[in-house]
Amino acid sequence: MTTTTITDSGHDSHHDEGSYLTPHKGGAFATIIQWATTIDHKKIGMMYLFTVLGMFMLGGVAALLIRAELWEPTRILADGTITGQLFQSDSTSGYLTYNRLFTMHGAVMVFLVIVPGAPATLGNFLLPLMLGAKDVAFPRLNLLSWYIYVLGAAFAVMSLINTGADTGWTFYTPYSSSHAGNTYGNIVMMTTAAFILGFSSILTGLNFIVTIHKLRCPGMGWFDMPLFVWAMYATSIIQVLATPVIGITLLLLIFERVFHVGIFDPALGGDPILFQHFFWFYSHPVVYVMILPGMGIATELIAVHCRKPVFGYRAIAFASLGIAAVAFLVWGHHMFASMGELANAVFSALTFFVAIPTAVKVFNWIATLYKGSIALNTPMLYALSFLFLFLIGGLTGLPLATLATDMHLHDSYFVVAHFHYVMMGGTIIAFVGGVHHWWPKMTGKMYTEWVGIVGCLLVFIGFNVTFFTQFFLGLQGMPRRYASYIDEFQLLHQISTVGAFTLGLGFFIQLGNFIHSLIAGKKAPPNPWGGLSLEWYIESPPSEHNFHAEPILTHGPYDYEDVYPPHCDPADFPLPEPKPEGNAAH
């Protein structure tokens, strides 16, 4: 690898153009029109970021209401209470309100937050920058995907206003298709929302695959891409190949609900297990749509903030693809109760294969950290939290994949804790860390470091208090999705609830930190962390057309031992002493 910097000629002469955030000269209305019709991937990424954030708050409030309900062993969300009235329960039972709350929490968090979260926000913003491109391959499709997302979100919110669905986010038939307890239109509305959001997901995935294939800058081969891009590539493959299956599943479910076609309804000769197969054929791979971007973000954060080349670049890249491939073979482990022994054994065995590429990644991250010069700033603390939480989440998946132990653990709080450790401790924590890491690039403003650290610690502690207790609850037999429980569980439930509100406080502090930085934050330098991938070569926030001239890549994204980071004082990021016998990390 040579040590020349990347060509970005004419840098200073173009400074008067302003950034992509510069408002339109025609005033506020023109600026709104400009944003609403933009095909700039950076603006679309920011629009996604704020809509996803709004949905995250909606899902988060539902989660806090669930935890508040579980403070007492008996049901407290009766019709007379505030929450009962809020949801205008049409049944005499407040249990229905509780069911609607956890359905809302699950559906919003899965379909509107975690799945589109990292790819559509950070991916949209960073992918072309990291590849040295002017935009994604299909900019107008990109804008369309945002509008489709908003339409889907509108359907979900409409279903919520109209009292909401109570099926759980999995919409299992025949309860979802024919049970009288559901308000007729809500299931259809919620299902339509998920169906519409699928299109948005497919368009994003398709766009990214083509962008990665066709718009890498000169000099950038497949193995010169940042590993975040590899993670996005694997994510996109799953999005494109799995989402159509949920599309047809939800479409048939809508037919079932509206016309009673009987395909999933056992009363009419249909097969509800078929629905489960269809549903999990999408919804298991999509678990990796959720976690792979998190893994990619964590790789970037760890590499930049410990200033070391990523250990085992190719291993991490291929592990991403390996996870994407295995993702399609393990859906049956969600259905151990509804299949035969042979199928169970096969799916159980296949599920263990997921652990291999995942463990490869974890070991590589730890090897990257080893002897690195670690900067314990907010993004790095999030990356370390990710490692810690994701490890617990991954390892507790193994007893759930094992048939004998799963008989005891399935449908219990153990499962709830397990997937929250992966989905939230993995994806959301990495995502929030990534937002901190790239916030200076996206907005041109620095956040307050100590507030970020306090928020991160609160989130980390609150998260563990909330969900580690749930492992014990599950082991003791507390089933998931119940609004009331026996008195013995009360202490653990109360600890968990305290943790949930701590977690909420942590996120609230982070939000305040971001808002403060937008209003009164210091101006961000182009490269605050000393990163080497292409997005750090341009100003913060980037100009409208990203690069002033087409960049030519001359070094890898992690050559911290050979290359001075751009726009930085070399004294801040000194190169290591040359080793006597070449560079072992390559």
């Binding site: 016309f259 078929l274 057309h545």
Partner: protein
């Protein structure tokens, strides 16, 4: 500095549309753009195949579960209507391929004629499906699932067969209409400033690919629904 314009053109109104089209600003050259559009469209076609794969799965599963109902239901379908529709779609696949060939040869007149024939075939298919199959059957009470009210059912589970039939052919028919819409859009554009020619026929090529997909799915649906008893 304006935003990136996806359609940067050299503005010389004397030139025909396909010569005036350069390529979108964020691509390096026209070949890259063409390749990217085709790659993107093939990925989209993969999603379409997977969408229909769910229906084929449901078909296979219920066929194994209720073979008599499927045999009885299949006997209600007139193979001549299905066969005619197969021929109509095959012919239209040929003409749409010829339309793309004409664009490559800059034969504007036959490009339009081929497109018009394809669009007529699309609507002919839809007309036969609607007028000779859906409407009479619905009138006889041969409807999906719970709506089924035909007293002469050959098997108590026949409604399931009709659910699969209506879902599969209905979603396919929707794709026929979408494909026809795409081809009409191509036709309109071929008359206007953005006409197609040897160096610029991406939209036409992708619409043609979509039309072939519609055709291929019918090629599988026809024997499964009409020929196998």
């Amino acid at each position: 500095m304006s935003t990136i314009d996806a359609q940067t053109r050299v503005s010389d109104p004397a030139q025909p549309g396909w010569k005036r089209y350069k390529f979108a600003d964020h691509f390096r050259n026209a070949e890259d753009e063409f390749d990217a559009c085709k790659l993107g469209f093939w990925l989209f076609l993969a999603t379409e195949v997977l969408l229909f794969s769910g229906l084929f799965c449901a078909y296979a599963m219920f066929r194994v579960k209720y073979p008599e109902a499927f045999a009885a239901g299949s006997h209600h379908l007139n193979v001549w209507y299905g066969g005619t529709n197969t021929l109509v779609l095959l012919a239209s696949s040929f003409t749409v391929a010829m339309a793309i060939r004409c664009a490559q040869l800059n034969n504007q007149k036959w490009l339009r004629i081929n497109l018009i024939i394809t669009i007529i075939c699309a609507f002919l298919f839809f007309f036969i499906k609607l007028n000779f199959e859906y409407i009479p059957k619905w009138g006889e009470g041969i409807r999906p699932g719970l709506l089924y009210s035909n007293p002469f059912a050959g098997d108590p589970m026949e409604p399931i067969w009709w659910s699969v039939y209506y879902a599969a052919t209905g979603i396919h028919a929707l794709h026929v209409l979408i494909g026809a819409g795409l081809l009409i859009w191509c036709l309109v554009r071929s008359f206007r400033t953005t006409q197609y020619g040897p160096t610029h026929y991406t939209m036409l090529e992708n619409s043609g690919l979509y039309w072939h997909l519609v055709d291929v799915i019918w090629i599988f649906l026809f024997p499964l629904l009409y020929l196998i008893h």
